[in-house]
Symmetry: C2
Subunit: 192 residues, 2 copies
């Protein structure tokens, strides 16, 4: 149930609507967190019931009215308790690795396609991080949360290293003999 802490974390920076939080997840946190918007709205209501956040409704002309959430003292305590607690053991479910584990059932060129698809994903992800770096250099954000910023920049660096390690592994794999060539099934016919 870490969604609760993700929400508290975002609200500890600044009051926000459910919609704002969703956007932040998708932008600056997308490489380690995500949540469906209807889940966010639901969880925020529960958290208000539990006294971790409070909200006020703001009417807007020409736009739907919005509910702005603020973290409470109890909410901040809850967040800090979690941050300081011993992490629950993490169980991983990685569909990509699951595929690799059994991909030997398919012919080599189809396995190759899977690897290349993944390389593409990793490359785009790596590119995205450059734009995220910029985000952290926004002066307003910077001055308000210097301590958090230091960690977030290191986190970004760590993620880049990890992703690069995976990418290098895949590229090495793609050069393996027996997988290296995308199959030339009709070399003779094509020359005619």
């Amino acid at each position: 149930m870490s969604l609760r802490y993700a929400l508290l974390g975002v609200l500890s920076l600044k009051e926000a609507t459910g919609y704002d939080i969703k956007r932040r997840f998708d932008r600056s946190m997308q490489f380690f967190w995500n949540a469906d918007d209807s889940q966010i709205y639901r969880e925020l209501r529960t958290m208000e019931r539990d006294g971790l956040v409070c909200s006020r409704l703001e009417e807007q002309a020409a736009r739907p009215s919005k509910r702005i959430y603020q973290i409470t003292g109890a909410g901040e305590r809850e967040l800090d308790d979690w941050l300081g607690s011993v992490p629950e053991r993490q169980y991983i479910k990685d569909p990509f690795m699951l595929r690799i584990f059994f991909i030997g059932r398919l012919p080599a060129h189809r396995a190759r396609a899977l690897l290349q698809h993944r390389c593409g994903e990793l490359t785009t992800a790596l590119a995205t991080f450059e734009s995220n770096r910029q985000y952290y250099q926004d002066p307003g954000y910077r001055s308000r949360h210097e301590d958090l910023l230091w960690w977030q920049m290191h986190l970004l660096e760590g993620t880049v290293r990890v992703l690069r390690a995976e990418l290098e592994w895949l590229q090495k794999l793609l050069r393996e003999p027996g997988l290296a060539l995308p199959e030339e099934p009709s070399a003779m016919e094509s020359s005619s």
Copy 2:
């Protein structure tokens, strides 16, 4: 709904009971997959209803009787279709990274403890892989699934690289000034 494919994958190697599958998840697949046993039993029943697997009951003296599942032709086709399909976009939820993102709220020595805890986890994981390597060298398994084995050994290598990248990043972080020393709050008193 990748659990279904994980189960089909395991059954494609060899018939098995729910209990066997659980053990395999926990042993050779634990670094990229896991599932709760009651979930496995439930899903196997549904898959039998859908014709992807079939089962027979085997009575045992002095042990509870067991239900042995076998993959069907339809099951193998379903598995191969999935293996060859374009992967769904993967959304990540990583509670550890979420913690790092907000850990700046806590004093440095508590953040340090979190990093060290993670280093410990990574180190044990890395050690486990050595024993997994041995598993793949089991001659019986080897001869039956040579093609899968090739991939699985590379997968293991990839995982090691990725984990090592994370570990190196953490160790570098721990040497950062301002985080490097585990606070010496009572250097004078302890010398007495």
